[in-house]
Amino acid sequence: MYKALADAIRDAEQQKKTLAHVALETEARDQGRPVQDIRAALQRALDVMRGAIEKGLTGDLYSASGLVGGDAAKLRKNPSGPLADTPFRDILTRALAVQEVNAAMGVIVAAPTAGGAGVLPAILTGLAKARSVPDEKVVDGLATAGLIGAVVAERASLSGAEGGCQAETGAAAGMAAGAATEMLGGSPSQVGHAVALTMQGTLGLVCDPLGGLVELPCVFRNATGSAIALAGIEMALAGITFAIPVDEVIDVMGDIGREMDVRYRETAGGGLAATPTGRKLAKERLYQIKRTDG
């Protein structure tokens, strides 16, 4: 797979192809498998994503600690905020739904990780529904997202333990923004700007979950991460460009991750996890988990 988004964007523009097309061809060559096989695997992933959203919207799923759950249904049933009846609101609901399934040890697609698994399905399926995009184009979107994620894995990190939340929900938001920008008709270069405009907004985001568990704030970070991705998509499709090239934005995310104190890398030593209430809740709820498991 590509090691720089600039190279993929250049190839796509020269060959007059989408980034999804270029990504699928490259993957087929790397793995020695036909493009159809890879598309089929991505379609299965899309089906699992939709299944998780469906399951999460029922609202009766709770995490092992009971700290998170039921909020996707709350958002769906009470459309009174400023985003009522918008795709924006539907996307936030979907992001919460997937993450609630994840926290309850249900089946999801890690994209790129489980902790950030809500953003990409929320953005792609939410926008596909709002704009009647056929599945084939959504699968293309997953391919573009995979390309972006592969470049982030290569140049920076996709692990909260290594790079903080900017490497998980931040990377997921960048992937989703790029994929959706192309799905809605953006050019390869607009995809690059969408990723940069999105990830600049998540730089420095720490991984600070209570008790170190993928629950709080992870579930909500998938909703706020989706909101940042939507801002990136909106700006990029309007032709707004970001002066720092996307690969440099990704590189600096990696640099910031490496310099981030270990307390902010999934260890529950800092951030929200280290607040008085964060510590108290983790202590009470973790004790409960141990007790119920015997």
Binding site: M1, A23, L24, E27, D30, Q31, G32, R33, I38, A41, L42, R44, A45, S63, A64, S65, V101, N102, A103, A104, M105, G106, V107, I108, V109, A110, A111, P112, T113, A114, G115, A117, L120, A143, A145, G146, L147, G149, A150, A153, E154, L158, S159, G160, A161, E162, A167, G211, G212, L213, V214, E215, R265, E266, T267, A268, L286, I289, K290, D293
Partner: protein, 223 residues
Amino acid sequence: MVSLLDIIGPVMVGPSSSHTAGACRLGLLARCLVGGTPQTGVLQLHGSFARTGEGHGTDKALVAGLLGFRPDDERIRDALKIAEREGLDYKFEKTTIADAAHPNTVRISIELNGNKATMLGSSLGAGRVLVQEIDGYPVEVTGNLHTIVLVAEDRKGSIARITGILAEHDINIATLRLTRKEKGGDAFMVIECDEQPDKKAGEELRALDWVRWTRRLDKVSGG
């Protein structure tokens, strides 16, 4: 090489790709070393695995892997109870393996019918794993392909003999990495294959009198 399907995937039971799916894959790889569900297992957790493993279901996922469950198997949730039923006696220990070790690292020591194995591996994020050590030998196994690891005397023609045996069994080699510490010392080989090497191929390799040690590991990730 990062695969697109590693990024959009795996399909997995939550809540953490590194602490749950990656842990499950490490368990699956370890299981290959003894050829089935072990009777005993000592799992030494390092770093974030030790600190947050319980709430992330790392314990359940590692044991599920040892039981042969894949990362998308909903039985992972009940793996500890299932292990009791299946006669897998496991024990977790929290430890510091090395200061420089990856934050999500585990050393797994298992035994099945007197067949013992020890494996050191890390979960790198997004469900990707890396096995760094098997029975004390340094290796690099990702589980993205079927893999044979082998330690042999450093002698002429050894690669030709080994690749010949694999060809006879209709196994195509995807990658082959050969290293040695010194001239005439032990040669370490990691051979990644497109097809799953059968038991017979493994036995033929083991039967070579200049092969000191060899193990087969299954493909546990990738599309």
